[in-house]
């Protein structure tokens, strides 16, 4: 049975795409068939992490949503080169970076039901064990839909007041939509914070599990948007932390 994980954050810049890419890679390395769908149509970016050249992708999610192609045509394999014997696979469904396409979405929108159907078909056709939905920050219609269809809502936040307030809204909305599992992942946590105290506080405040506390890692910043951290630095303590998060997602 496939698991849909909607990854969301209230504001941009929380490291949402980066974390999604790393978690998906770790699951693929463990032998799962994983998909990532970039529904952040207004500001797509996750393809950069996988060094996927948009010019090599004739079909993007936008093309599917406008009925130009089948959803299966928009899935590109980006499995991190590791054990060739492994059954793990990673597929990316990128959004178009063409400014015309982006402007069109912002102007006319699209039928969000198509997104739902697209997800369904991806899970069936590829087929997938996990589908990550990389959402646009904020709570717009496709994000709400993503939450509605997700088995797990993973909210990424930084330890600051704006994120705390915004996360409270998302958690509440998630409860309204009766998401089976809601988890919080703290990212870019300064070294001076006590991990345990922060985990307790956050879990207590939102009544949700905290699946991980990721420190502010210099190396991650250096790598920026050009590579998958867990592939480049598999033994880094951040990678180990991400692995425990992956185990909690699998649980």
């Amino acid at each position: 049975m496939a698991k849909i994980v909607a990854v969301h954050s209230f504001r941009g810049g929380t490291g949402k795409s980066n974390t999604t890419a790393n978690l998906a890679c770790l699951l693929a390395q463990k032998g799962h068939r994983v998909g990532i769908i970039d529904t952040d149509i207004q500001s797509p970016g996750i393809h950069v992490l996988f060094s996927l050249d948009p010019n090599d992708c004739p079909c993007a999610l936008n093309d599917y949503l406008w009925g130009r192609c089948e959803i299966s045509q928009t899935a590109y394999e980006v499995t991190p080169t590791a054990d060739p014997a492994s059954s793990g696979k990673l597929f990316l469904i990128p959004s178009s970076i063409r400014t015309g396409d982006i402007a069109r979405v912002i102007h006319y929108g699209y039928d969000v039901n198509l997104l739902k159907e697209g997800c369904q078909r991806l899970i069936r056709e590829l087929p997938l064990d996990y589908l990550f939905i990389d959402t646009h920050p904020g709570l717009n219609e496709e994000t709400l839909l993503s939450i509605a269809i997700a088995d797990m809502l993973l909210i990424i936040l930084r330890p600051d007041h704006q994120d705390y307030q915004g996360t409270a809204v998302t958690v509440e909305v998630g409860r309204h939509l009766e998401v089976p599992r809601m988890s919080l992942l703290l990212n870019k946590v300064p070294a001076c914070f006590s991990r345990e105290a922060l985990t307790d506080q956050v879990a207590h405040t939102y009544g949700c599990e905290v699946v991980g506390v990721l420190p502010h890692a210099e190396e991650m910043m250096t790598l920026a948007s050009s590579g998958i951290f867990v592939v480049r630095y598999p033994d880094h303590h951040v990678s180990r932390e991400l692995r425990t998060v992956t185990a909690m997602i699998e649980a």
Binding site: M1, Q120, A148, Q165, L177, C192, T205
Partner: protein, 342 residues
Amino acid sequence: MDARRIILTGCGWGAVFGILNCASNVFLLPSAPFISLRPQIALPMVVGITVHPVAGFLVGFVGNIIGDGLSGFGLWKFWNWHLANGLMGFLPGLVRYGGSNRISTVRDFGVLEMSVVLASGASVAFAVLLDVLFLEFMRFPSSFHSWILPAFLTDAVNGFVLVPVLLLPAGRLLITLETRTILLITALLVVAVLSTAGAITWSVWDDLSSPAATIENFYIAGIVSVILLVLGFIAALGFVRKITDPIGELTRAAEAVENGDYDLGHLGHVSARQDELGRLSRVLQGMAGQVRKREEALRSQVQELRIRIDPQRREREVAAIVETDYFQQLKKKAKELRQGMS
């Protein structure tokens, strides 16, 4: 240490030392019929320091036998001097500078140079004692001028100058800020003192028999040279340590800060200096204080970490979303959607 290696090294370098002794006997010191200018005395000292004290002893002892034999003095005639040359290799090797066996500080360097000079003095004194007790070759006070003093002067000065020079390529003398400074000052000192002594010797070389340049003058030049060298060196040690000791303390203080210890009260006497190092020390103390303050502030902030959420604003924002028609429809369909997905 492997005994075989000690004996082989000692005898091998001893042969070299012996040949050099014979060769240098051509250049006898003025007015000293038995003593030559012998830079090779650094050999037993260096072997004693770098290999083993016993190896150093063998170089001096075996080498002096070979040298005397080759020079036609007779193999055993001056056996007390064989032992004395052995001691010159043995004693500096016995002195270890702070256990590391590598010279990296002014203190180590001072110990090294002092051990060389003192070993020269002690060895010559030992040879004289043996002579007085058993051999009676020497006549006093003439032997003091013609034999004892020149032997001490040439060994002490050659050892003082050449041992560090040889230890440098052997990798035993590490170039640090401390050793670099003390080497520079020592080199200047040696050049100044020896060139003066050399000039005096040169000026009287051709008429050593003239009353104007008495033998005493020559000895005075030698003795004054050694005294100047030793005093100048001790002064240089103090001078360099005045500079380098605070640097070591500042480094340790910086390491303490790195390890989270911000109490730099012990830097007080460095901070009291009015020079650049004093200023650096005060800056470091101030910096550690600032870091401590900032860290404490941050820690108290973290302890006060309360996730404050404005409930009214949250309700307002949630309501704005859930009250839309779209959301209401989505909510109705949500369960069904999820079941349909997989």
